[in-house]
Amino acid sequence: MVFLDLALNALASGIALGCIYALVALGLAITFGLLHIPNVAHPALVIAGAYAVVLANMRGIDPILAALVLTIPFYAVGLAFYEFYARAFERRGRGNTLQSLTLFFGVSLIVEIALVVAFGTDLRSVSVPYVGRSFEFGLIVLPYRFLVPALLAPAVILALWLYMTRTHAGLAMRAVAHDERALSISGHDPVAIKRHAFGLATALAVLAGAALVIVGPVDPFSGRIHLGRVFAVVVLAGLGSIPGTLAAAIVIGVAEAFVTAFLSPSWAPGVAFAILLGTLALRPNGIFGTAR
């Protein structure tokens, strides 16, 4: 009974954890998966989003509501950011991996330090009425501070997936990943589409930030622990697959939860990366990916 209890709870919290990871990885699934831009600054932007939500919450606004409103300014920031990136690199030939990685790393450091200067290094959190209470179903006990952000993930992913498959702008975004030149022949401006996609990815960062800050307090460097994991999720999912992102994130979340429950929490961080190394060595296209 103890075993079943432990396993069921590990499964439930693993799925919840996976949903939250998926939300953090979603922006990267667009920038890296579709646009092939290795945006290592994404986790730092997620934390910046979390801080923006904390600011709104201090005025008594619900974090998720605040995040939904904040997607608009974050979208604008994303547009500007892409414009800078495009001017620095893409207009004068493709920047190589090293250079774009370095650029985004520099941006990530600046975002972190900006947060340190503005808010200090203390942990910040939000207050919501459901923190501290738990959802109970049979043997499963899941705190609401896990469950609520976890439920946000499937909703956001469904909306994004509908947008990508059912709307013109979404199709254009997938087309730009596929064949840029063909797209420009058919009368669309690939740069404008990519800028829009980047803005969308940055807007998703604030939603992910809200989810993270509901789960637990954040500090300016919290993004670093997510950096490797979100890349693991995107690669495992296979580039460009939005539903795959959720599935891959849940695989990693459940694996981590089981290792935490049955082995020791200190082995958990290695799990995502062991899975990632295995995937890269054996199936570089990811589980749900087509050829890249």
């Binding site: 620095a88 790393f105 600046i110 490797g228 961080p269």
Partner: protein
């Protein structure tokens, strides 16, 4: 510079370094200088794979940490002398490089970078869970007294690191000027084309991974003596991986001197800002420098110099 002149300069530098502990009173200079030299070794090692072959290794701290923990293990288990530690660390680094190379044979570009990040976390987790190596709280390593000439442990490890830096630069130079370096440059330009021309790309990549890994791990070996304490957080720090990539980029990746310039420049700036302003501004300075160089001078200082020469009338000098 011919090999004879290079060796001459290297010998002069070592001799000057050996005299320093007699000339300078304040051990702080050696404490800070050690870090600068450590980064010269790391950046030089990184550049063999990342610069010559164009494979961005994001997981430099995996190799550095492997070196640190190899040395710490040898101190704890056998009280092995420093030379043995350095050689063993280099050996472990080479093996780790080969393993990484084998695991990542099929992947390039960003994927290679991600795989190397994964390597860091996996190694860190293993060390974290190893009781013998002290786990999360780390291991205190007590060094035997340093030779009397140096007047202190810090001065001693500084001089050791100076020698290691020169060895590392020598290795990088030898690789660059040999057929290995030419093969790696061909791989960087175009892997399929290199393969078609008869370059054994697979073996060359593995060789570059092994040499690069060995040199970086070597940089970690004196660390237990330097810090007297090793812990997973500082041995596998993200900062090391970041610096390793930033320094060659700032200096220039095409030639052995580039990483040296970048490492001396960037780590001196870091040391100075940490002391004079704060460690936060040190990170900010790195971030700003990275962006400025990537956007304005993507070929680093070496690129700037050769542009300048070109503008002054001469033909473009490719280092």
């Amino acid at each position: 510079m011919s090999w004879r002149n290079f060796l001459l300069v290297a010998l002069l530098i070592v001799a000057a370094g050996m005299m320093l502990p007699r000339a300078l009173e304040n051990p702080y200079y050696f404490f800070a200088g050690y870090v600068v030299l450590q980064y010269v070794v790391i950046a030089t090692g990184w550049n063999i794979l990342g610069g010559y072959a164009g494979y961005t290794n994001f997981g430099t701290s995996a190799f550095f940490g492997a070196g640190v923990y190899t040395a710490a293990f040898l101190i704890k288990a056998f009280e092995a002398p420093l030379l043995v530690q350095v050689l063993a660390a280099a050996g472990v680094g080479m093996v780790l490089g080969l393993v990484t190379g084998y695991l990542t044979l099929r992947i390039q570009g960003v994927y290679f970078a991600i795989a190397t990040v994964a390597l860091v976390v996996v190694l860190e987790t293993v060390v974290h869970n190893s009781d013998y190596l002290g786990g999360a709280s780390g291991l205190t390593t007590i060094a035997p007294p340093a030779p009397a000439w140096f007047g202190g442990q810090t001065q001693y490890v500084f001089c050791v690191m100076l020698v290691l830096a020169l060895v590392a630069v020598g290795i990088a130079r030898a690789v660059e000027h040999s057929w290995v370096g030419r093969s790696l440059r061909a791989i960087r330009a175009s892997e399929p084309a290199a393969e078609a021309c008869g370059v054994p790309t697979l073996r060359m990549k593995l060789a570059a991974c092994a040499i690069s890994g060995g040199v970086i791990a070597m940089a970690g070996a004196p660390y237990p003596y330097y810090a007297s304490h090793v812990d997973p957080l500082s041995a596998f720090s993200l900062t090391i991986g970041l610096n390793a990539l930033a320094m060659p980029l700032i200096g220039g990746t095409r030639s052995w001197i580039g990483p040296v310039i970048g490492a001396v420049l960037l780590s001196s700036v870091q040391q100075i800002t940490t002391v004079t302003i704060s460690s936060e501004f040190n990170i900010l300075a790195v971030g700003l420098m990275l962006i400025a160089f990537v956007v304005l001078a993507p070929e680093g200082i070496l690129g700037l110099v050769s542009d300048l020469r070109e503008r002054l009338g001469g033909k473009r000098v490719t280092p």
